[in-house]
Symmetry: none
Subunit: 432 residues, 2 copies
Amino acid sequence: MRAIILSIGDELTLGQTVDTNSAWLAKQLAGIGFRPAAHLTVPDDRDAIRQAFEESVGRCDALVVSGGLGPTEDDLTRQALADFLNQPLELAPAALENVERFFRALRREMPEKNRIQAMLPRGAEMIENTAGTAPGIYCNYLSGDQKTVCEIFIMPGVPKEMKIMFERSVRPKLAGGEPGRVGPGSAGVILSKTLHTFGLGESAVAERLGELMRRDRNPSVGTTVANGYVSLRLNAYFPTPAEAERQMAETASACRAALGDLIWGEDEQTLPEVVGRLLAGARETVTTAESCTGGLLAKLITDVPGSSAYFKQGWVTYANDAKTALLGVSPVTLQREGAVSEAVVAEMAAGALERSGADSALAISGVAGPDGGTTEKPVGTVCLALVARRDAAGGSTRTFIFHGDREMVRDRSAKMALTMLRFHLLGKPLPF
Amino acid sequence: MRAIILSIGDELTLGQTVDTNSAWLAKQLAGIGFRPAAHLTVPDDRDAIRQAFEESVGRCDALVVSGGLGPTEDDLTRQALADFLNQPLELAPAALENVERFFRALRREMPEKNRIQAMLPRGAEMIENTAGTAPGIYCNYLSGDQKTVCEIFIMPGVPKEMKIMFERSVRPKLAGGEPGRVGPGSAGVILSKTLHTFGLGESAVAERLGELMRRDRNPSVGTTVANGYVSLRLNAYFPTPAEAERQMAETASACRAALGDLIWGEDEQTLPEVVGRLLAGARETVTTAESCTGGLLAKLITDVPGSSAYFKQGWVTYANDAKTALLGVSPVTLQREGAVSEAVVAEMAAGALERSGADSALAISGVAGPDGGTTEKPVGTVCLALVARRDAAGGSTRTFIFHGDREMVRDRSAKMALTMLRFHLLGKPLPF
């Protein structure tokens, strides 16, 4: 089965926005046995969009479209679809209800302008949008001579709304089953799995994987780096799902044997979620004392629904005075060692542990940049401390030098703090 | 002048790599007066690539291609170009010298495999690659009936090599001038500007813009939504840069007149940066007291380099006990009004203001979800408070209902808190 992915928007063709939808959709489609034959991007131009429909339907079994469903005059996808189908746009009551419900939830009146979002070409169906105002559009296109059949799915361009709509409605319709299952008429199955690591560089991870990364291996193992995580992408191509699953499980085991606890999770799992589960399992709580990360560590911990079970409070002590006033860090230590020092983070963590009554406390202080670096403590230098109530040794401190800009240094610092906590909860030493 | 951007590679069509080349190229092309009519991505498939050439040349003046020039068997762009041009591949001595020079610089022997990279279709020219092994390919395509003329540029897919080659050779060839200037033979110049708003929905923004959003207007004004911000995209197409700049300034003024202070910034500016500049200008400091956002507000504020000038400390009081212990929120208020109430955020802000000595304090408490919603306070209900030292009125509190998942609710809450502070610093009431 072949798919074409069509993205619509001036901001895309003009390069003002990088199109991330197409890659995401391509991955999802490949996972259910649809091979993406092409990605196409056209501007908010009624003729260009119509032409894209015309030229695509004969070349694929599924045309997956995003963008141009908004309420404003530069949103022309529904009009172009109507032109292509040669059908009038009609008000669809179910779609109107979808739009109105969105505004009701916000306790706001629906602007007249949004009424257009409830219009569909005659014969098309609405796809429910549970995350925004724009319902999607589905139609099963059949050419006059009945030779061309193509399912058309149109979703909003906002990545989040698009993804939710794809998961809820488009994937089930296309696959008639779970992700990873063979699509109707597909020649085989592609199973994918991702394993995530943090702390080692890509080449160090590759070195440990060795022969597992051979190009001609099936399942294949590749590495990608994103947001500081080095992730292993496993792809298994086999004639049957059972064979693909068996082979995938075997290769995943081999990767785990090579990397051990460096692998913190897989697929959609997040590091804060995994650490949160460990905390909840141990019935322990954690608190935070942050300088250079400015609240990012607490934010990551509370990204997880239900984190209130193990996180009660945290401090952002950005200025030296605040470290002393809120956490009792000694001015002498600050003066003698500097704010970015293992002595200071140790006192920050101890102060937070005492004031919070938590089972453990994480503290971070560093030079996030772009300014503030010195020869001795260059930009990227970050001190971390973990102090635990049940830890007779009085906790541990570490200094890292993270590479990259301010955002990267802050991000890696918070993730390394979570990693220290993870290994602490696993009862193992940090392996780097 | 019209351009089409063609990207080639299985990793792109399968979604394993997000295509950033196309957006970058689109921006560059728009800057020299080429309107990108479409982006197209096809797999490493000789027929698919040839077909993409065939269908694109008649639709644009410049076809700008990247990818598929590597030395391995899945790199088929040069072969497909030869198929399309119906010309044999021949060894080009200048191209061979380019490849060999690269290996000499690495002090390595050129593998026999790389010889293919020195092959060009007869009549095509090499584009020098100063950053990698793969020379680019240029040809000026002229159809048999002489009706179609299209310049074809093929560059490597590696973003760094592609960009260097574009800057060195492709841009000068296309434009004969600087970015943003009119190229010889080009019909004009495209200038782009983006204006950012927060707080109103897309249709409400469009309503205020009215006629400014007319499809046939030049400069055009369109809206896009990303991360809760509704942004206005202005594009001006004019024969000369001076005219484009003048018209752009006029349209931007008209947008500002229609939306007033709802516009918080433009182009690459960020909301925390804009608020930070206002704080620094007023020589004021701010502190934060966060419940549902769990540190996100402090994180956003400290995203900005130099934020230590106006942000010294913040509290994350996620649990009720922490609100009382750290900020002095009355247990009676918590009990009577609930943690998500204007009374509680007012006490959180007052407590933070008092304990910090800052000039103003922001507090947030809400139901971020997915659980914890009630009929009275559904998921998305968020109370915000701003208390300022110099504000005799004792500050302001507001309740919003934000739509979306946990991440969206937290994100919008923090941005709305920044927006409250922004209007406070502007000395104006919140306009919604």
